[in-house]
């Protein structure tokens, strides 16, 4: 594998090295990396590309914030499949790079992470997703997740003000609980402005299906819908297609405003920068943390993208007021009486579910005002 063995002359090798503009230092450095002891090494694995304008980029932004902390070294791997390969990636980060904190940022990493966590009790493992830690699981494992539907509720208010038709489109991947919660919260937010507002839902069937996502947006635009939002891994295509069709868009995961400078209203975003920085600081201070960390706007785990040029002053004000109510903890989205879109009462009058309520994490209904079904 070393070119010297492949019949290249020494001169050619020297030339190549000079061409690369690199010194031989990097060559001889690798075995020592693991022992660069005093530094805290943080490992992160992503299921897709780090620049997907979506889920993975959100986590990569969080990890980038960690890089700026003094004395912290970050090792990252993108496109790691949710198989035994991610176990090997984590183990490699631990044994070759000396990582002592691992962020496993895809849903399907959970089972694999638990296996590796049991093997390396001195390393901390954290999983980004709606996973539930239970007694008996490795104590060095945990999960973090955000109530991003709160930010979707705010985005719904903004959309409700901006829309001329009162019809919204939502491109989902699969009808799974977190997606349904986003759809419902967005619709409920929009309905506070326009009680007749309607959200048309299209599920594409999988997390990354750019062609179907574009088709979905086109068909929504053809139906007279003028604001589109989504819950797919990479909203890039949805936002770009909406801009091309001249309709408004509301982002998801990270800020996509550069893709739609005219029509981007706001978006529901993760604030992993804060979450990851907290964990690294806690680890260095020797603090422990709960096995499950959850929070929404109040905890600063989610946020909204800055308002776009099409958002009116009135809309901004109402959205900011609603945000303030989330922040001081005086507002709950899921409060009875509430009916689903088949007319059945799902939350009776007088009953309300706080964002932390575990019942919301198994949501299987669409709220009144949503057109679509929970079957894909």
């Amino acid at each position: 594998m070393i070119p010297g063995h492949c019949g290249i002359s020494r001169r050619a090798v020297l030339k190549m090295m000079a061409a690369a503009g690199a010194s031989t230092a990097t060559v001889s450095q690798w075995p020592r990396r693991a022992s660069s002891a005093s530094r805290l090494v943080v490992g992160a694995a992503y299921v897709g590309p780090k620049d997907d304008y979506g889920w993975n980029q959100g986590h990569a932004q969080g990890v980038t914030a960690v890089k700026k902390i003094d004395g912290v070294k970050v090792v990252e791997e993108e496109n790691v499949p949710e198989t035994v390969q991610v176990q090997k990636t984590m183990e490699s980060m631990i044994s070759l790079d000396g990582a002592s904190l691992i962020f496993a940022t895809s849903f399907g990493y959970w089972e694999h992470m638990l296996k590796v966590a049991a093997k390396y009790p001195k390393v901390q493992f954290l999983h980004g997703g709606p996973t539930v830690w239970k007694e008996g699981m490795p104590t060095n494992a945990g999960s973090y997740n955000g109530f991003i539907d709160e930010a979707q509720y705010i985005a719904g208010i903004v959309a409700g003000y901006t829309s001329k038709t009162g019809k919204f489109g939502f491109v989902g991947a699969k009808p799974y609980p977190a997606s349904l919660r986003n759809i419902n919260s967005f619709t409920l937010g929009a309905r506070t402005v326009n009680p007749k507002a309607m959200t048309q839902v299209i599920f594409t069937g999988d997390w990354v299906l750019p062609v179907k996502e574009a088709e979905a947006v086109n068909s929504l635009a053809d139906q007279g819908i003028d604001v589109v939002t989504c819950h797919v891994d990479s909203p890039k295509v949805v936002i770009e297609t909406a801009e091309k069709r001249g309709i408004f868009s509301s982002g998801y995961h990270v800020n996509q405003s550069t893709l739609a400078p005219k029509g981007y209203l706001t978006g529901a975003e993760w604030n992993w920068e804060k979450v990851y920085t907290d964990y690294v600081n806690w680890l260095r201070e020797g603090k422990s943390w709960p096995h499950m960390r959850r929070g929404g706007l109040r905890a600063g785990i989610v946020r909204n993208a800055p308002y776009g040029p099409a958002v009116s002053e009135k809309a901004r004000k109402q959205a900011d007021d609603a945000k303030a109510k989330f922040t001081d903890g005086s507002f709950v989205i899921y409060k009875g009486p509430m009916k689903d879109n088949t007319g059945k009462t799902v939350i009776p009058a007088g009953k309300s579910y706080d964002a932390t309520d575990i019942w919301l994490e198994s949501m299987d209904w669409l709220v009144d005002g949503v057109r679509g079904s929970t079957r894909s």
């Binding site: 070119p3 019949g7 490699s92």
Partner: protein
């Protein structure tokens, strides 16, 4: 020496040309990474250490090579009959589904009964799946490459339907997944290693099919069909039966990969199974020149490149696509080296050298 070709010179040729092609691709890859701003020597060293530099790296490599050996057989075996089958991805998924299904109807059975049943179920289901492509080819004249490719999509759609409906475990909320085959039915790791038993299945599968294709009447007949179908028919070779049986065996290999993915890794079927093992298997088969025995080292080589891919990202700031570029370069150079066979005078004997495998070659 008999393993590689008929004669010592033939064997030397069969080893030297791929090795040379590999060297050329490494040089091309070095130029590529230099252009990308990394030090090629450092990158080579990282690839070596990440793939084969330590016991940890070796296990990492073998772990990744494991499913590839079985999926590569799915392409390599029909290739002996001159068929290009690319249906390993679908056969793996169907094998995995059958594995889950059979485990669920045997709730009280003993560990070994369930494991045997799971393996048989996975192999038969995968075999029938690719057998479908073989049958379409033989009875209806449907191009087997297209049909096996389309069967992959059907398999994925079928899995999505089953894990989202009839086979869905309602307790797994956030990703449609089938029910679990049960912790006690899982096959563990090879003692003393961090690699599951799939590796043994893979190696045994490659050896058995090598013997079948190279040292039995069946294999001989299959190679005649691969050489010239008409001549084979004239000689009374049962082309149809050979096509079907070979496709069944090929599919069974990929189906067994599905069983091990379930019984040794995931425990339940879900989209986590669709990670391209079937498609990488095609690459392995072509690099191994459709020789089942050569599949073993080639799968290990590609597994090693994969294992090192993470280090290239972490230590050289190269994008994930780097390993795909490397694979692509190797693939192209190996294919381009094909015409070299039989043309290098060093390897020629005064008598006509017997051909290696199914690739017909003019006498020098």
């Amino acid at each position: 020496m008999r393993l590689l070709g008929g004669s010592p010179r033939g064997a030397a040729e069969a080893l030297t040309i791929p090795a040379g092609a590999l060297a050329v691709s490494l040089i091309l890859f070095g130029i590529f990474v230099a252009l990308a701003g990394a030090n090629p020597l450092g990158v080579y060293e990282t690839i070596y250490s990440g793939a084969f530099g330590s016991w940890f790296s070796w296990q990492n490599t073998l772990q990744r090579a494991t499913p590839l050996m079985l999926t590569a057989l799915c392409t390599a075996l029909p290739a002996r009959l001159g068929l290009v089958v690319i249906g390993a991805e679908g056969a793996l998924i169907i094998g995995a589904l059958a594995t889950v299904a059979i485990a669920s109807v045997l709730p009280g059975a003993s560990h070994w009964t369930v494991i045997t049943a799971m393996m048989l179920a996975g192999m038969s289901a995968g075999g029938l799946w690719v057998g479908l492509a073989g049958g379409l080819r033989y009875y209806r004249g449907v191009n087997e490459t297209i049909s096996s490719l389309l069967l992959n999509y059907i398999a994925i759609a079928l899995m999505n339907h089953l894990v989202g409906g009839p086979m869905r475990d309602p307790l797994v909320l956030h990703r449609p997944s089938s029910w679990h085959v049960g912790e006690r039915n899982m096959i563990g790791l090879i003692p003393g290693m961090d690699v599951h038993w799939g590796l043994v299945f893979g190696v045994v599968g490659c050896i058995v099919t090598y013997v079948l294709m190279q040292h039995t009447v069946f294999g001989f007949a299959a190679r005649i069909v691969g050489g010239n179908v008409r001549a084979a028919r004239m000689a009374g070779v049962p082309v149809g039966r050979l096509t079907l049986v070979t496709c069944l065996i090929a599919g069974a290999a990929a189906g067994l990969a599905g069983t091990t993915e379930i019984a040794a890794v995931h425990g339940r079927a879900s989209t986590s199974l669709v990670v391209g093992y079937g498609y990488t298997g095609i690459l392995v088969a072509f690099l191994a020149r459709q020789n089942p025995l050569a599949v073993i080292p080639v799968a290990i080589l590609l597994g090693g490149i994969d294992a090192a891919g993470g280090l290239l990202q972490r230590w050289h700031d190269l994008p994930d696509a780097t390993v795909h570029v490397m694979r692509g370069i190797i693939f192209l150079v190996i294919l381009a080296s094909e015409p070299v066979y039989g043309r290098l005078r060093v390897f020629q004997q005064s008598v006509v050298a017997p051909s290696n495998g199914a690739v017909p070659r003019e006498a020098a």
